[in-house]
């Protein structure tokens, strides 16, 4: 007892001597296997976390005074990153088809069940962006699924402008593209006109330049390269149109591809090669298997989209949906890719580092590397196994989810007993 007291006292003295204890506390997570994603896994290793960042990962001595979480046989992997989501929105799209000024910032409900579900499923970063039933649908925001207000959740405010090539009601494919092009041209023209008026010092009666600025700002940000486009291309042919649209205005663009994308594999690959060795330009729809009907041959072929694109050398982010089926789980989407022939490490990358690259935040999240945000999933085993549970989630160094305290999960499993 006496010896323990001395040690405790010494520890307290040391602890008190540290500058900002809460901030600078070191957390050490010990695990059977650490899937760092950016490199080979570490067996029986440690992740050190300090000040919300990853300080080190590997086999190492745990520093004295570190708070230790020993997972025993548990595994650690980076938090999942969701590249395209409508979680927490009351509706996916505004009825008006051209609303570049709208932002999910004004629509995301931090207390929505779909947001609460994210941590339970291991998602620590997500792009919440308007849906695909639109022409220019508005801006998405990058959030972490924690916080009482959208501001607390925010990782990046202007994270992408949704453009969809899926024709809205009463529109044709060609009309859809014409409307999108017209909106871009109108924004550019009206800025030029406003600039001319300002330089002339003339204002027309009823003119409200601030209003015009607010309405066209998102499109101008897009045209000036400050805001990337997220272009939904449901058919393979839409990919070609999407590339043309991006290139003629020289805008930064990422592409969300429908299950027809396998037909465009060579085209997708060529653009990716031109963009550089780490570029991830594509996110895949949650539907990863389609029946392809060939009218000429009177035949149906089953296409495994993730496997086919992977074999063609196309890198992609996998996405999940908000429905009741298994494709709502990021681990299931990655497991499906494995079933289609994608190697396990690449499948895991497609729900972590690749979506982070797609979203342009790979410097902060997506892998377990020194200096990145400490967004970690503490798992009961292999993340791609249906038997594995997310046991705890560490978000920016803080344990924000613990399965043993998850009362909703208990209710989900057992049902609401009292009636």
């Amino acid at each position: 007892v006496r010896k323990e007291t001395i040690v405790l006292a010494a520890a307290l003295v040391l602890f008190a001597a540290l500058p900002a204890p809460a901030e600078e506390e070191v957390l050490a997570v010990k695990a059977r296997r650490i899937l760092v994603v950016s490199g080979p896994p570490v067996e029986d290793g440690v992740v050190l976390v300090r000040g919300g960042k990853i300080e080190a990962v590997g086999k190492m001595e745990i520093p004295p005074l570190a708070r230790v979480i020993d997972l025993g046989d548990g595994w650690v992997c980076p938090g999942f990153v969701e590249a395209h989501s409508q979680a927490g929105l009351d509706r996916g799209n505004e009825q008006q088809p051209v609303v570049p000024f709208a932002s999910t910032l004004d629509s995301l409900d931090p207390s929505a069940p779909a947001i609460e579900d994210q941590l339970r499923e291991g998602v620590t970063t997500l792009l919440v962006i308007p849906g695909n039933d639109t022409q220019i649908g508005g801006q998405g925001i990058l959030v972490k699924p924690r916080g009482r207000t959208v501001e607390e959740m925010l990782v990046r405010r202007s994270a992408g402008l949704k453009i969809s090539l899926e024709p809205v009601r009463n529109s044709s494919r060609a009309g859809q593209l014409a409307a999108i092009r017209k909106a871009m041209k109108d924004a550019a023209d009206s800025r030029d006109a406003a600039d001319r008026r300002r330089s002339d010092g003339a204002t027309a009666a009823g003119d409200a330049p601030e209003m015009d600025d607010a309405r066209r700002q998102a499109l101008l940000d897009l045209l000036d390269g400050r805001l990337p486009a997220v272009i939904y291309a449901p058919l393979a042919m839409d990919a070609r149109n999407a590339f043309a649209l991006a290139d003629e205005r020289k805008i930064k663009a990422r592409f969300v591809l429908g299950p027809d994308a396998w037909r465009a594999a060579a085209l997708l690959r060529a653009r990716q090669d031109a963009a550089g060795p780490d570029a991830v330009l594509y996110a895949l729809d949650p539907v990863l298997e389609v029946i392809d009907r060939d009218e000429d041959q009177d035949a149906e072929t089953i296409r495994e989209v993730a496997g086919m694109l992977h074999r063609a050398g196309v890198r992609f982010a996998l996405t999940s949906d908000e429905g009741g089926g298994p494709s709502r789980y990021p681990w299931y989407q990655a497991a499906t890719a494995v079933r289609q022939g994608v190697p396990r490490q690449d499948a895991l990358k497609a729900v972590t580092l690749d979506p982070a690259r797609f979203l342009g935040i790979a410097d902060r999240v997506g892998s377990i590397e020194k200096g990145k945000d400490a967004n970690l999933l503490l798992l009961t085993g292999d993340p791609l196994s249906s038997a594995t549970w997310v046991d705890r989630v560490i978000l920016e160094g803080e344990v924000v989810y613990d399965r043993k305290d998850d009362r909703k999960l208990k209710r989900l499993i057992e049902g609401e007993k009292a009636k």
């Binding site: 069940p113 779909a114 298997e289 029946i291 009907r293 149906e300 089953i302 908000e322 429905g323 009741g324 089926g325 298994p326 709502r328 299931y332 497991a335 499906t336 494995v338 079933r339 289609q340 022939g341 396990r344 499948a347 791609l384 196994s385 249906s386 038997a387 989900l412 499993i413 057992e414 049902g415 609401e416 009636k419």
Partner: protein, 401 residues
Amino acid sequence: MNDTVRLLAVSLALALVPAGEPEPLKAVRVGHLFTGKEVLSPGVVLFEKGKISAVGRDLPIPAGPGRVVDLPDAFATPGLVDAASTTGLAGPDSEMTREVTPCVRALRAFDPSSGEVRRALRSGVTTLFLEPGSASVVGGIASVVKTAPGPDGAPRVVRADAALRLSFGSDPSAGNFPAHGIPQSIYARRPTTRMGVLAVLRDAWILGRAAGTGSGDADLAAMARAAAGEIPVRTLARTEEDLGTVLRVKGDLGFSPVVEGVAEGWKMADRLAKAKVPCVVGPLSYPVSGRGIEWSDPAMDNAGALHRAGVRIALTAGGNSAGLRDQASLAVRWGLPREVALRAVTAEAAELSGVGARVGTLEKGLDGDLVVFDGDPLEPSSRVRLVVVDGEAAYESEASR
């Protein structure tokens, strides 16, 4: 080699392996074999004339022609059985002109060459309990079929009269018009309430029973056969209320149905067990809105709760039989024991479909239906390598690449 000898050799080869026809399977040897009852490691299945001729841990493989598949890392199970499926029905799955259509056969609308049936086959599902849709009080006759088309493209039927399909709850009443103000026509279907559904069912049951199995009216005759116990009865019931109704009218009308859906079974698992009502559970869905199908109270471990109470269960993927293995994986994730889940998509699914003597188990004399996975069959990441139906390779993964 002179030409005559060469010709002779070629003819001999052609005689052994007829062009376009795959060489029949003789044996499959795998690292782990789930027989429907136990796991053998390793395990061997021998086939003869489309049937299983032997199953064992280390059987010698007989000499002679026939293909041997030897995959020491693989895991094989009986061909999976979806015990409540509408997969492959061309067009609408329910006959909507009347609410009682006992003589309608789902089999007549089944297209074994359709993409969704091929997806089911590729996923390892070899047998479907194929039933009419749920929008009628008495939907018609369900049949048990294989997912691999027969040699001439026709369905392989395991059991033509597998069950008379009934529906309880809101499915057969939702969307119907009240009769007043609308002439009696095909546009005015009766029941608009749960009690209406029961009234219609009682009418049909009593009329059928009175008419007898020899009735010249096909509908009455089919009802009569069900009432006489010649055809099993299958019914949909999801909520506690509707399951309670099944238990109540079971005695009244004198039938012993297999119940499917059973979303709120967890609330009354003890009653279902006591009444010895087998349940085909599913499909399982995450309650996005907080409620389950038909506004039921969800419990993701529904299947586990029923099993622990002693209810016999099979699992179903409903209209998407290719998702059957996911149903088993997810049931295990939420609490069902692994072996129970595997049995619920093989041996028990076959039993509850009335075809346990033909499929669902790897046993001498049963159909040669088997699936080989490259890993644990309960992991969604495992790939189907080979599907065998009636002793022939019906799908192989490498061929599809």
